[in-house]
Symmetry: C2
Subunit: 565 residues, 2 copies
């Protein structure tokens, strides 16, 4: 190979990854990274953990596991990669193959000729054009500098009031971080649920519950119209459509937008999502130019359509694929399943593929499953609840999406679903998966297998079911039915749905008390989690009751008012 010149614009995730691998594959290559900020190769996803104080020194976000700081000197000495930080790429001449960049400290313009250019220019938090967004004390959270401003430049955070605009991943991670600092937090989200782009309402319900339990105020279905400041230009609060709130801090966390202005100026093709369009080798419309990370769109592996889902994990994978292709290895990036995971205080929530909302919007004919159960055998004292929701395509039986929430181990189950969804598996292919079993790790039938089995039952027409949302709609419509709780009286005392339609007959007594139930009325059975509810439905059907269903997920998954002792 000749001594090729590779210029990389962007030094956070995709860029340094591509640079390092190019040098490993082709040690003769000349690799240059241009980064507009001071810091390079840092773990952006770690910022909330710096904010919270769990990471005390921000340099840890840039350290290798053995403590070397990944700064320009490190990249030179170890990788033989030249980094120009505080250097902004201003113009690219694609004909001459030259990047013109300005060194921010000297204002000097430098020219960097390239054989291949990599655009790894990232994304910028979206800040709406709203009154007050420039006030002191209004932040977003994308760079180490943002996090340092908030944590280190304002005096003690304890006792301060924070308003977070946006109930997405960043907003929720920041809420936990602020709470750990002893702040008082309100999240304002214009949609009716948190994480609405990612998870369905009955899963979001558990996240919202946890936030409330941890003392976070939630204002859902409301939006900030103005950020208010004092005469010193310091934020003092916000005005929403319905309210007015005081604040010492405002964090704007309503999503981010790909940085495409340079790409647009260069005439590179943008995709339907507005991000840079790339092929499966991450090549832009200019074959000499690759792009990866938060500035590009990906293919959604379920729908085959473009999707914009900026993720640090994807950015790293992109970097590797780009390096491979530049160095002659045929490496393909097929797309993403749209996976996300988040710790919310003492619970975890994860998702992949399509939500029910998205699947319906896309026109899929689906069934859904909602099943709660402990993440290991209940006889172990550290067993914790997780709730799995599956979204399954009826005609093909393919798994389209999965969501998992609860205090237990959600990551393992979502990762299994990720692989299944990425490869278009039918739920039938998950039923007998030989997943690792020993009591400290899972029930004998892993939760995700149970969920797949329930999906199979539904697809096969075994057991008639109804979702909590559908039951609630019947209630709101004043429909008459028997809402048959088949739990024990003790369980009923602890937690129950308080409604005149509810009738308690423990499953063990159902066969003997069956005469108490009218044959001509709709009966909806439920228990704690849905298993006994399903058994009750089976028993009643066998005894000639026609209009019987069981409610998915039982009282545990009932996302509406319920009595809890």
């Amino acid at each position: 190979m000749g001594k090729r010149k590779i210029v990389i614009i962007g030094g956070v995730a995709c860029g340094p990854k591509a640079a390092s691998r190019i040098k490993r594959l082709d040690p003769d290559a000349e690799v240059i990274i241009l980064e507009k900020g001071e810091l390079i190769s840092y773990a952006g996803c770690g910022l909330p953990f710096y904010l919270s104080g769990q990471i005390s020194d921000y340099h840890d976000l840039m350290n290798t596991p053995t403590g070397a700081i990944r700064d320009p000197a490190f990249f030179k000495a170890v990788k033989d990669v030249t980094v120009f930080n505080k250097t902004i790429a201003e113009k690219v001449d694609r004909n001459q193959k030259i990047v013109m960049a300005r060194q921010l400290e000297t204002d000097e313009i430098l020219n960097f000729p390239y054989d291949n250019l990599i655009m790894a220019v990232g994304a910028t938090p979206f800040v709406p054009p709203m009154e007050g967004v420039s006030l002191k004390g209004v932040y977003s959270l994308t760079t180490v500098d943002d996090a340092r401003q908030i944590r280190d430049k304002q005096g003690p955070l304890k006792g301060k009031k924070a308003i977070i605009i946006g109930g997405g991943l960043i907003g929720i991670e920041a809420a936990e971080a602020f709470a750990r600092q002893g702040m008082t937090i309100t999240i304002i989200e214009k949609l009716e649920t948190v994480l609405a782009a990612l998870i369905d309402p009955e899963i979001a319900y558990h996240v919202q519950n946890e936030l409330k339990n941890q003392g976070i105020s939630l204002m859902l279905g409301d939006s900030v119209t103005r950020i208010n400041g004092d005469s010193n230009g310091k934020v003092i609060g916000v005005t929403t459509q319905n309210d007015e709130l005081e604040a010492d801090f405002v964090l704007v966390a309503i999503g981010s937008r790909p940085n495409v202005s340079l790409a647009r100026e260069m005439g590179l093709e943008l995709g339907a999502t507005g991000a840079i369009k790339v092929d499966s080798r991450l090549r832009t419309s200019d074959p000499a130019i690759y792009a990866g990370g938060d500035c590009v769109e990906n293919i959604n592996l379920v729908t085959g359509k473009p999707i914009y889902t900026p993720m640090g994990s994807t950015a790293n994978k992109h970097g590797r694929v780009i390096a491979d292709n530049i160095c002659g290895i045929n490496s393909i990036f097929k797309g993403v399943a749209g996976t996300g995971i988040c710790k919310v205080f003492d619970i975890n929530v994860a998702r992949t593929g399509l939500s029910e909302t998205a699947a319906r919007r896309e026109g899929y004919d689906i069934i859904t499953v909602l099943t709660p159960s402990p993440d290991k055998p209940h006889f172990l004292s550290d067993a914790k609840l997780i709730i799995i929701k599956l979204i399954v395509d009826k005609p093909t039986r393919k798994l389209l999406g999965a969501q998992v929430v609860g205090p237990g181990d959600v990551a393992k189950r979502i990762d299994v679903a990720v692989i299944a969804i990425s490869h278009g598996f039918a739920v039938d292919e998950m039923s007998n998966a030989d997943l690792a079993y020993a009591p400290p790790f899972s029930p004998a039938m892993d939760n995700i297998i149970v969920a797949a089995n329930i999906a199979q039952n539904k697809l096969n027409g075994i057991g008639e079911f109804i979702s909590p949302g559908e039951v609630k709609a019947k209630m709101d419509n004043k429909e008459d039915f028997i809402f048959l709780d088949v739990r024990s009286p003790e369980e009923y005392e602890q937690m129950r749905i308080e409604d005149s339609r509810v009738k308690l007959i423990p499953l063990g007594k159902l066969r003997e008390k069956i005469a108490e139930l009218p044959m001509d009325k709709e009966i909806i059975c439920f228990c704690k989690i849905s298993l006994r509810g399903y058994e009750a439905e089976r028993i009643l059907k066998a005894k000639g009751f026609k209009n019987v269903k069981f409610m998915d997920g039982g009282v545990i998954c009932w996302p509406y008012d319920k009595f809890v002792q």
Copy 2:
């Protein structure tokens, strides 16, 4: 459907599962379970947790999650399944389709006609024909009764000496349980490593280390020739090939054998492994008779050959598949990946597919990967090490096997590997898997993805590598080479391989000190985990050194003598 009669022999896992599902699918079916023991439907895999005291009441092993005990009355009232416990099936007339069973308490013979029979007769621990196996104080661990004998019938366990014969899964789980009871434990294993049927020696090394750290004595490569008793018929110790040991208890845990005597008498076909042979619908050679659980063999999804791997998880899946097929649902059990997982005090170990040993024995042309790294970003204080070993088929690039060990989250990574192996994925299909990423759950590039990437590199001829075992063999052969440690001096102080061939040049200094290295000598680079070792190999190769390799897994994975501060 007519009112069919189903008789199930065996009431622990597969049997009750099949019974319950048959009644849900066909409420009119008459379902009878015959169980020779008193207890039914218990979690056999929970026995070590009863032994240890983590479960205080053995009934918890039979409880539903909401506290109902799954006894015959429960099965009758809730499931309409009739259970005859303490009833042993003695003879089956396949022509007449009748099971003849003896009620153990009354000696009465009962006849049970069937349309379909399910053999779910389980396995029995293998006890070798050795002097002393019948002494008081010699146990195996398969039934609740075994566990109760050991824990509840002998007075306090604290301070007692236990010898465990067999270093397999049961032996190791029992060792931890005994240790929690304050006993002194020796494991005697005739092979050179623990879990030898499951994992390769360099993974077993970490398990052995943990056992030793927890005060368990290991006698590897030795075997018990005689169990010794006193004049009261009570065990007092064992004699091994090399030693003589005292003991208050002896646990025989050298594996189990499928219960096939009845099946053999009935003339059902047995498979190559000695277990009952079944087709993919779990039907035996008699089409009216199904079999599942610990008494049958499965198909190994990697090799396509029969394998005997009794597992509670598999037994439950079998029960469901059998019920489906009896009730007219076309349900297939393709086979198992051979997955296993075990908690060993503060570390976890898991495996699936073929071990390196097994793959070589089967004649595969393989590469292996050995890669240690933290299970989440190192900047989080609860990040814990895991070591992943992959076994990959060179010609097809398919993943054949995976092993994961360490204090961190091994279950998630092994389950991803299970799905990949079960579907014959090439490692290339794992590289860009959109696994769930946020710092509390995984590094940006999940460990299993990194392992797949290393496998890709090796398959693509990028980076020349050598395993720790091969390096050790060179040392033992007194070969001359430079064993280049590229870590920092501080890391070297803490942990190092002490050998005259070792030379320390930190990676950051390698480019400037390169002249210190001879071009004509073999150089084997390593660091803590292998990443810097790999970089060093790349640097030296680029500078014209020809005979350079890096050692898989670094000093962390070096399973031989090393200095640790």
